[in-house]
C-alpha cells in the first residue's frame, strides 16, 4: 500500500503527521509493537530533519506484508559528508544551537539504530534522499 505526504520546511507543529499515520496502519496490520516503535521513531526523526533543514520534502511510504519502505526526498542544503554525518555526535550545529540542547549529532545515528537498512544520498545545494526499510 502506497502513501505520500508533503512536508513543509519550518512547520514544526505538523511534523509527525506521517509517522502518526504510519503507526496507525502498522497497528491495523498487527505488526509487532517493537517494530512499530522503531519505525515511528526513525520516521519522526527524519520528518523533523526535513522540517528543520529543508525547504520542503515528500515522504513516500510503501507498506507490504513483510516490510515497510520509506523514502524522504527533500529540497534543501544537502549533506556535504554523509559518512561524517552518520557518526554519533557529529554535528554542524553552532555552539549557540547546542547550548539549547539541539544538534547533538544523534539524528542520523538514531535513525540507523532504528532501521534495518538505511541509505542516505545527498547533493549539496539540491537536497537529500533518505531511504529506509524495516522488516516485520
Amino acid at each position: 500500500m502506497n502513501f505520500t505526504f508533503n512536508v513543509e520546511g519550518g512547520d514544526f507543529t505538523n511534523a509527525g503527521a506521517a509517522s502518526s499515520h504510519v503507526k496507525k496502519m502498522m497497528k491495523q496490520l498487527g505488526v509487532d509493537a517493537g517494530i512499530v516503535k522503531r519505525t515511528v521513531v526513525a520516521l519522526y526523526e527524519a520528518e523533523v530533519n526535513v522540517v528543520a533543514h529543508a525547504f520542503r520534502g515528500v515522504i513516500t511510504v510503501d507498506i507490504e506484508e513483510d516490510k515497510i519502505y520509506v523514502k524522504l526526498e527533500d529540497e534543501g542544503p544537502g549533506i556535504p559528508d554523509i559518512s561524517q554525518a552518520m557518526q554519533k555526535g557529529f554535528s554542524t550545529a553552532s555552539p549557540k544551537v547546542r547550548e539549547m540542547g539541539f544538534g547533538a549529532g544523534m539524528g542520523l545515528p538514531n535513525m540507523q539504530s532504528n532501521t534495518d537498512n538505511l541509505v542516505v544520498n545527498s547533493e549539496v545545494g539540491k537536497g537529500t534522499i533518505v531511504e529506509f526499510t524495516n522488516y516485520f
Binding site: 500500500m1 496507525k24 496502519m25 497497528k27 491495523q28 496490520l29 515511528v40 519522526y44 513483510d66
Partner: protein
C-alpha cells in the same frame, strides 16, 4: 485470546438505544444493533465513561452480594480513603467508622496504608537508569488496559509494581495469620470507586489472582452507611485508630498528582481523564518526548474522586480529601505496623509482564490484514466522514473496518442509502428494513405520524 472480565453490564430492558455510550467510548468498543448496545469484550477497558453518559441508567456495575461478608468469621473492610470524603463535613469519621463496625466488619483498613512502602519501590525504579522511560504508573487499571489495547508499544514502560490495594491486602492477610487468625476465616472486602478496579480484582493483569475475597461498590456502601447514621442505630466507638494510620502523602495518593508528589527528582507528569490520557499517549508513541521520567495517568477526571461509583461530586470529594490531609493528625510512618512488615511486602511487590493485545489488528494473518486494510481504506474514502453513528458505529472508519470484517454492510450508511435510493438501486422499504435492523422496530414506527398529528 483469553476472555477479559468486565464489571460494566447492560440492563437491556431499560436501554432506549440512544447510542450515547457508543459515542463516548474511548476505544470504540460499543456499536448498536437491533436498537441495543453490543460490547466488544476485547476492546472494553472498564473505564466507565458509558456509565456516566447513559441517560436512563441502563448500565450497571456488578458487585458481590453484601451478605457474603457474613460467611467469614473475620470480615475485613479494605476501604479507599476517599470513602470518608463522600460524606458531608458534619458527619464525623468516627460515625462513619462506627457504622462500618455496626454493619459487621471486624476491622477497617484504608487502602493507601501501603503507600509508604510503594513509594520506596517507585523511587528505586525511577532512579534506575536502565528502566525504559517514561515509566508509566499501573495504579489505574483502566489505563493499564488502555495501553494494552490501544498503545501496545508502550507496555514495556509500565511500572510493574502492585497498587496499594494489593499490597495492603497482602499485609492484612499476613498480619492476621501471624496473630493466629485462621486463613479461611479471613474475608477481605474491597470497596471499589470504579468499574476498572472491580475488573482488576476479578481478572488481574500481570498476576495470577487477587488477595481480595469480595467487592462492594462504593456507592452502595455509602448509602448503607448513611442510612445507619441517619437512623442512629449504631454504637459510637471510642477509638478511631483505623482512620488514623495514613500519612498526608497516602491521603493524597488517589487524587491527581498523588503519585508524582512522592517523587522528589526528575520530570514527572500527572494527567487525568481518559481522552486526555489517550491524546497524550498518542503523542508519546509518535515522538520522543523530552526526557519525561514518570507518568501518572488516571482514567477519571479528578482521578479516583471522579470514580463512577463515588457518591459525591468529584470536586467536593477532592476538596474534602485535601482538607483531611491538611488537618489530619497521624501516627508517624515508622510506627505503623504495616511499615514494619516492609521487607516482606517489598519481596512480593512486583507483578509479571503485561502483554499487549492490540485492538486495531484487522486479522491474525498479515496478508489478510493487508487486504482488509486496503479495502477498508477504499470504503472509508467514500463514506461521508460525518461520524453520525446512524450506521450503529462510532465513526465512518469503524464502519469501514466492520464491513471488511463481515460484521456490517455498506448499506448501513444513511448517505449510501440515499444514493442507492436516488439511483433506484434500493427501495425505501429496503432502507427502512436496514435502519430497523440497527435501531430496532420501535424507533421507525409509522404510527408516530398519527401521534404527532403530522399532516
Amino acid at each position: 485470546m483469553e476472555d477479559f472480565h468486565h464489571a460494566l453490564k447492560f440492563k437491556y430492558e431499560l436501554c432506549i438505544g440512544c447510542s450515547h455510550c457508543t459515542g463516548i467510548c474511548p476505544t470504540g468498543a460499543i456499536h448498536v444493533k437491533n436498537g441495543k448496545p453490543n460490547l466488544n469484550p476485547n476492546r472494553c477497558i472498564d473505564c466507565g465513561k458509558c456509565y456516566s453518559v447513559c441517560p436512563v441508567s441502563a448500565i450497571y456495575i456488578e458487585q458481590d452480594d453484601f451478605n457474603t461478608i457474613y460467611n467469614y468469621a473475620y470480615p475485613i473492610l479494605l476501604l479507599p480513603s476517599i470513602f470518608s470524603a463522600q460524606f458531608q463535613e458534619r458527619i464525623s469519621n468516627r460515625a462513619i467508622l462506627s457504622s462500618l463496625y455496626h454493619l459487621g466488619f471486624k476491622q477497617v483498613f484504608e487502602v493507601e496504608r501501603s503507600v509508604p512502602v510503594i513509594k520506596e519501590k517507585m523511587a528505586e525504579i525511577t532512579k534506575n537508569e536502565f528502566t525504559e522511560k517514561p515509566i508509566i504508573s499501573t495504579f489505574c487499571p483502566a489505563i493499564v488496559r488502555l495501553i494494552q489495547v490501544k498503545f501496545p508499544s508502550l507496555v514495556g514502560n509500565l511500572c510493574l509494581i502492585k497498587p496499594p490495594l494489593d499490597v495492603t491486602a497482602l499485609y492484612i492477610k499476613k498480619s492476621l495469620i501471624d496473630q493466629g487468625v485462621k486463613e479461611e476465616d479471613i474475608g477481605i472486602f474491597y470497596v471499589a470507586p470504579c468499574a476498572a478496579k472491580i475488573a482488576a480484582v476479578k481478572s488481574p493483569v500481570g498476576e495470577d489472582e487477587s488477595k481480595v475475597d469480595g467487592v462492594i461498590n462504593m456507592n452502595y456502601l455509602y448509602n448503607k452507611v448513611l442510612r445507619v447514621i441517619k437512623q442512629g442505630e449504631y454504637k459510637l466507638i471510642d477509638n478511631e485508630q483505623d482512620f488514623h494510620t495514613l500519612c498526608k502523602e497516602s491521603l493524597l495518593w488517589a487524587l491527581t498528582g498523588g503519585e508524582i508528589n512522592l517523587l522528589k527528582h526528575g520530570r514527572n507528569l500527572a494527567i487525568d481523564e481518559i481522552h486526555n490520557v489517550s491524546q497524550f499517549l498518542d503523542k508519546l508513541e509518535n515522538e520522543d518526548l523530552d526526557a519525561i521520567d514518570f507518568l501518572e495517568l488516571r482514567a477519571c477526571d479528578e482521578s479516583c474522586a471522579g470514580g463512577i461509583l463515588c457518591a459525591g461530586n468529584r470536586f467536593l470529594v477532592a476538596e474534602r480529601q485535601r482538607k483531611r490531609a491538611q488537618n489530619h493528625v497521624h501516627t508517624h510512618n515508622d510506627n505503623d505496623a504495616l511499615v514494619k512488615e516492609k521487607q516482606y511486602l517489598l519481596e512480593h511487590i512486583k507483578v509479571g509482564e503485561v502483554q499487549p493485545r492490540s485492538m486495531d489488528k484487522l486479522d491474525d494473518n498479515i496478508s489478510v490484514a493487508m487486504r482488509k486494510m486496503k479495502r477498508s481504506f477504499e470504503i472509508n474514502t467514500h463514506l461521508p466522514q460525518v461520524d453520525c453513528r446512524i450506521c450503529g458505529y462510532q465513526t465512518c472508519k469503524e464502519l469501514a473496518n466492520a464491513i471488511v470484517n463481515n460484521e456490517a454492510e455498506l448499506q448501513q450508511c444513511i448517505f449510501i442509502q440515499r444514493i442507492l435510493e436516488h439511483t433506484d438501486k434500493m427501495t425505501t422499504g429496503e432502507a427502512v428494513k436496514i435502519t430497523k435492523s440497527i435501531w430496532g422496530e420501535a424507533k421507525i414506527d409509522k404510527d408516530v405520524i398519527k401521534s404527532l398529528k403530522i399532516e
